[in-house]
């Protein structure tokens, strides 16, 4: 029932965003379908996603490659079936040329077949590894990160710089959690570390006390494969139980995100995480993004704002390279996959043969500067591929990361 609400309102809202046509009669607008989330747990992520998107278009006066842009925004409610029907609406009734979104991995999986059959160029942020690996979709590109892409470097950092040897992992009990934790475990154990305990919590877990109390006392650290509000809540509850006096805590790409830091206490100081973005990056595009979000919405830019912004940088560069001819789907898709991006909020990047980004991954540590918590960059892993240091062929011979892969020979609990 929850899924029904706001549909109509949003459809109308989408039209209202339509930009006034300026000047030349032949300048038909580029129609972008924008899949965001305005309901439930992920509403905060969706809000940032929209803010990053609108900041990008506003800075360009609603034009891409010389053509005006018309936006059709829909609320997927973070539900695969709704994402699917909304996609259909965007493509068939709204005649969108290109889709930006959806945000969540399982939403991206839900529209996978549809965009393939209907040949809809899609710049998604849903992180499911196989969308650009074993089931690569020719109509899908991702400028952000696959679920395991940022886990590989943070595992390397944990071994070599944090000198961790025995760790516990906690992840969401869904594909996103398995892939984040799986990537971490593979690199950590390949380098001689041991994962001695793996905890899986349901995606909606209001209270992590049970899990926190179950964490082994013989570990150096715990890795958080939790996204958004879950990471936030886990950290709060871990502070209640004094977990950090027992061990270090480090996190995956969106366990410790900037918008959440604003509402956290000093218990966050010193937390280390690996992500493809932080608001502290000094790329010109990022400085614009951070400034615009502060000015227009009084918020700190986080991973989700940067997701939309970076996806739009990719779209803009691709459109410019084909003279704005968004109607030529094949040319657009070819351009999306083959245009190296020199300027974006996350820095320079390119898209690999399977449609996933190759770009820098940053190791960040939470610091307090002039009274504000922020993720400062302490190390950069340049040009990280979704296959880490393995060759694509070797990597793809293995099964997708799951609860049972990689195998866990070192479990003690």
């Amino acid at each position: 029932m929850i899924n029904l609400r706001r549909r109509t309102v949003l459809a109308l809202g989408g039209c209202a965003v339509a930009v006034p046509m300026i000047g030349r009669a032949e300048a038909n607008p580029i129609r972008i379908g924008f899949l965001t989330i305005r309901t439930g747990q992920m509403a905060s992520a969706g809000t940032q996603f929209e803010q990053g998107f609108h900041a990008f278009l506003k800075a360009r006066r609603n034009k891409l490659a010389g053509r005006p842009v018309e936006v059709f925004a829909v609320d997927t409610t973070n539900t695969p079936s709704v994402a699917r029907s909304k996609t259909q609406e965007l493509v068939e009734s709204r005649k969108c040329h290109v889709l930006v979104g959806p945000i969540s991995a399982f939403e991206a999986l839900a529209i996978d077949d549809y965009i393939k059959q209907n040949e809809v160029p899609t710049i998604g942020t849903g992180a499911a590894d196989d969308l650009t690996q074993r089931r690569a979709n020719p109509w899908f590109v991702r400028a952000t990160s696959s679920a395991s892409q940022c886990s590989h470097p943070i595992a390397d950092y944990a071994l070599k710089e944090l000198k961790l040897k025995r760790i516990v992992t906690i992840g969401e009990d869904n594909a996103y959690g398995y892939e984040q934790v799986g990537g971490l475990q593979r690199v950590f154990e390949a380098g001689g570390g041991k994962v001695i305990q793996k905890l899986w919590a349901p995606t909606a877990s209001p209270d992590y006390a049970t899990y926190i109390s179950s964490i082994s006392n013989n570990a150096d650290a715990i890795f958080l494969g939790l996204a958004g509000p879950n990471g936030f809540r886990f950290l709060r509850q871990a502070a209640e139980y004094g977990l950090r006096s027992r061990m270090q805590v480090f996190g995956g790409m969106n366990a410790i995100d900037e918008p959440f830091l604003r509402n956290m206490g000093d218990e966050a100081i010193g937390l280390v995480s690996g992500s493809w973005y932080t608001a502290r990056l000094d790329t010109p595009e990022n400085q614009n993004l951070v400034r615009d979000l502060e000015a227009d919405y009084q918020v700190d830019a986080g991973t989700y704002a940067a997701s939309a912004h970076t996806s739009m940088s990719l779209l803009e560069a691709a459109l410019s390279s084909i003279g704005g001819k968004v109607e030529d789907r094949n040319a657009l898709m070819h351009a999306l996959r083959n245009t190296p991006i020199s300027r974006s909020a996350r820095g320079a990047f390119r898209i690999d043969a399977l449609g996933n980004v190759v770009g820098d991954v940053y190791i960040r540590r939470v610091e307090k500067k002039s009274g504000k918590l922020m993720n400062s960059v302490i190390k950069t892993y340049p040009n990280v591929s979704q296959f880490w240091t393995y060759s694509a062929a070797d990597f793809l011979k293995n099964p997708t990361y799951s609860r049972t892969f990689p195998p866990s020979p070192n479990l003690e609990h």
């Binding site: 029932m1 992520a45 809000t47 899986w200 349901p202 209270d207 049970t210 809540r233 209640e240 139980y241």
Partner: protein
């Protein structure tokens, strides 16, 4: 040993919170015969209102009381001006409470944004205390104590006062209560106030544990439902016992059988519905 001790403590603390959540739900359900589907939203609203009050530098406990009162007043307005117009149309009333759940959730999203907000526990309770060589949050123990006090007060209200007797009469047989001169409609407003205020206070007290975030409402409502189905509709003792049973099942279940984390909460509900549909303390339908 330590495992059993700390998980037992976790269960007791969670049970206390569940009682604050479900006592009001059970009272309303018992008297008005409808599940108030806005209960989770009222719980969440309580947390958010307290956050705003605390930003005005009010101390935590005062914010909790004021927020509870505010949510209680909202609940009584909802009953007096909307639900009453639908008297006798129970399906309509349930749908209205569902509508209110959405409205409140959207209002919270607009007012307090979608970012999760932490609620700071009172200073004195912020540090974990050491119990038998392990750390346990002092605040959770306080929540347990408060919920037991609330249970005592509610018990006294329902079992030892005239208003309580009238509420019990309404729960047992509304027609008969009416015919002996009890203004049942006033009771409805009162019980809605009480139930909503309990939800609001529960939301505030749960805040330092759960934080406030969109979706909190939808996560809490099923918990209230599970507790009340197990304990018996309209029974305070049932809500009390049900809360601690559910909390223990949740904690030990997820710790011992993590793969069953999704179903473990609902198993006792299903079993109860099959074996004893009126719940542990409910009366069989006449």
């Amino acid at each position: 040993m330590q495992f059993w001790l700390i998980q037992s403590m976790n269960s007791l603390a969670l049970g206390g919170l569940l009682f604050l959540l479900s006592a009001g739900f059970s009272l309303i359900f018992g008297l008005m015969r409808i599940p108030n589907l806005a209960h989770g939203a009222l719980f969440m609203l309580g947390t958010y209102v307290a956050i705003s009050l605390m930003q005005l530098q009010l101390p935590f406990w005062l914010a909790a009381v004021l927020s509870g009162l505010a949510v209680g007043v909202l609940g009584s307005i909802l009953e007096r001006f909307i639900l009453r117009r639908l008297a006798g149309n129970e399906r309509g009333q349930v749908l209205v409470t569902l509508g209110f759940a959405f409205i409140i959730a959207d209002f919270c999203l607009m007012t307090w944004t979608g970012d999760p907000i932490a609620v700071q526990a009172p200073d004195a309770l912020r540090r974990p205390i050491v119990l038998a060589g392990m750390m346990f949050p002092a605040y959770r123990i306080a929540v347990l104590v408060i919920s037991v006090v609330f249970a005592g007060l509610l018990y006294a209200l329902v079992e030892r006062t005239k208003i309580g007797a009238m509420i019990r009469a309404g729960v047992d047989d509304m027609e008969m209560a009416r015919s002996v001169g009890i203004r049942v409609s006033h009771l409805f407003t009162l019980v809605f106030f009480l139930g909503a205020a309990l939800a609001g206070i529960g939301g505030v007290l749960g805040g330092p544990i759960l934080s406030a975030y969109p979706g909190l409402d939808a996560e809490m409502l099923p918990l209230a439902l599970v507790v009340v189905v197990l304990g018996g509709i309209g029974s305070l003792a049932g809500a009390f016992l049900g809360s601690f049973v559910i909390a223990a099942i949740y904690n030990f279940g997820t710790a011992l059988f993590p793969d069953l984390a999704y179903v473990i909460l609902f198993l006792p509900m299903v079993i109860t519905l099959v074996v004893r549909p009126q719940g542990l303390f409910g009366r069989a339908a006449s």
